[in-house]
Subunit: 375 residues, 2 copies
């Protein structure tokens, strides 16, 4: 169940007890104020879809707390950038405090705001892991023919810092992408059809994100039971998908209207059952089997000759699970490394043996052992 580049245990132990968190709740009011009610180091992931209209007016406040009236355009764009930057720094700072040391952050935006968000989160110490491009399969055309069709949005995925650990479910992503590494460009349709929430025949929210987008990033960077915080909850897509995937969630949303819609939507959502939630596990996460175990139980008896695929090197298995080749000896990894003069070697895939007239990698013997000794 572990694919964290992380011993999660320590962070988990320190973690806030679930009963001290408003799980499954949509906090009312300004997201910065709302986040202030949450304890330090308490959520595993933040997903944020902040407003990016730079003339937001009521959505923004000056550093001194006074409101900004953008309808009066005596604000030139430099002022509005500065105000947007302050706003961004404020909510990112609060998100950083609430996030566990090995938690992850996702932010989505367009060219209007994403460069500002990216630079500020770097300044705050977040460490960018990837920028991910959401390629829209059905974007709105550029009606006037004045620019390229704006056919994508950008997501930034970051950890708490350069040395911070983070969750990345590599194998699940690779499986989701037909056995190829998941790339940083994702082709996903915009939210429409049945999925698009309507109110009085009109779209309920102007920027509702597709569930498939949230699905992928939650599957990639959280595990079951993790707590996901969305400071700009809107119609609650994050909550709906989190619930479906067996993740806990907390939302912040200032508009009563959206809170109502989101709560209703999430109530209808059903969690997937256990068996569907399981995902492909990386070998990193498999229980460790020492080579010595296979020697002990007779799968690879002492004295067995091992060799690499091209039979350029060979070695003999000793009773303690070490290998010997002429005067050199060591673990399956160490000897493989020394013989090849390589910087490192995974002995499990390097070494092979004869069995029933066939050449088998010792790694496949380990797989058999694991299957036969599950649980």
């Amino acid at each position: 169940m572990r694919e964290r580049r992380v011993a999660k245990a320590r962070a988990r132990k320190q973690a806030v007890a679930p009963e001290d968190l408003p799980l499954g709740q949509i906090l009312a009011g300004d997201c910065i104020e709302a986040m202030r009610t949450l304890p330090d180091d308490s959520v595993d992931l933040v997903f944020a879809d902040p407003p990016y209209n730079l003339q937001l007016g009521g959505d923004l406040n000056r550093p001194d707390g006074s409101g900004v009236d953008a309808v009066n355009d005596h604000w030139d764009k430099f002022d509005s950038f500065a105000i947007y930057d302050d706003f961004t720094r404020d909510w990112l700072t609060e998100a950083r405090r609430v996030l566990k040391p090995d938690g992850g952050l996702w932010v989505i935006g367009s060219y209007h705001n994403i460069f500002r968000v990216g630079a500020i989160l770097q300044d705050l110490g977040f460490w960018i892991l990837n920028d991910v491009v959401w390629r829209k399969s059905n974007p709105m055309p550029n009606f006037k023919g004045t620019r390229f069709t704006n056919a994508h949005e950008t997501l930034i995925w970051a950890s708490q810092g350069e040395k911070a650990r983070y969750q990345f479910n590599y194998t699940a992503m690779k499986t989701l992408n037909d056995e190829l590494q998941m790339r940083s460009d994702w082709l996903i349709p915009i939210c429409g059809g049945q999925e698009r929430l309507k109110h009085d025949g009109h779209k309920a929210h102007p920027t509702q994100k597709p569930e498939a987008l949230i699905y992928r990033l939650l599957l990639a960077t959280t595990e079951k039971g993790d707590v996901v915080l969305d400071p700009f909850f809107g119609t609650g897509t994050t909550g709906a998908v989190a619930k479906r995937l067996g993740r806990e969630w907390i939302g912040c949303e200032r508009e009563d209207f959206y809170r109502g819609i989101a709560a209703e939507r999430i109530a209808k959502e059903l969690p997937l059952d256990e068996s569907a939630l399981a995902t492909m596990q990386s070998r990193k996460a498999a229980p460790r089997v020492a080579f010595g175990t296979l020697v002990e139980n007779g799968t690879v008896p002492p004295g067995t000759q091992l060799f690499d695929k091209k039979r350029r090197w060979h070695a003999t298995v000793r009773a303690d699970g070490s290998l010997v080749h002429e005067r050199q000896s060591g673990s399956i990894h160490a000897l493989g490394k020394v013989l090849q003069g390589a910087p490192s070697c995974n002995g499990w895939v390097f070494w092979h043996m004869e069995r029933d007239g066939k050449t088998v990698a010792i790694d496949s013997l380990r797989q058999e052992y694991l299957l036969a000794n599950e649980d």
Copy 2:
């Protein structure tokens, strides 16, 4: 041939006489100093490929043990974000001065630097017209399985200001893209093969850009005879493509070695006649759909039962698009292969599901998805 959203006449009259510009020359020294020698309002387009400030750690080895030849040049080293920001502000300021009022600016970067560049150019008054994603058809994989494959870079296209006019050859782009509006995501291979400049058997420059990329942006945002300035000239891709397309060019490059290579390269380049312009057509995205896409978007929800045509085997779909059958799990292809004991299996045609009381192959669901989401 006018498609400028612009009356270009005024700017053109004020323009510096060509004989006062070092057209077709590579200026030596630091690009900021070099640009200072150019008059105000004198070039039509700036294309810049500045250092990315990669901040790489130690060595990286591939799974086969071979090393990755990383960018480790002195020109990519900056002590802090603040110093990188100062450098960026300085060269952008100088570029802004040299650029005509209705000129265009392109900058390319990766997540390491592009957010800083984007925010600073907004601060300086540039107006972003699009961000464009260069999707690499053949990126380097993420060897350690720690992140998403970093499969794209980002370009920013900007005008001198919100009200500034700019050149955009809408029809040329539409033609290049099979009569569909050119989108903001461009699929182009990385620079390799014959195009990649070599020196003593090694790549001459660590970050040579593909000509197709420069070709497209010059074709989109300049017209014949325009002056293109590249402050980070490197191996002179911008000069070579500009010459081919009948545009004038000026380069800045501090390394003697690169200046030599670039000059030699451009000398060999021949201007294209009009009729040949259609040669480097865009490559359309391959219509590849992963099974996981159908799981994400709800076509095949997690928990769905799949079975082969004769219903000899069955399996359950999990959240990451893997299948599980008793103790065995894997992708649609891998599990089909294991269950049948076959050397290979095309899971798309092997697996079926019930829909509306009918049995359908999952391949037909893929076809439907492709039809509904054509690019």
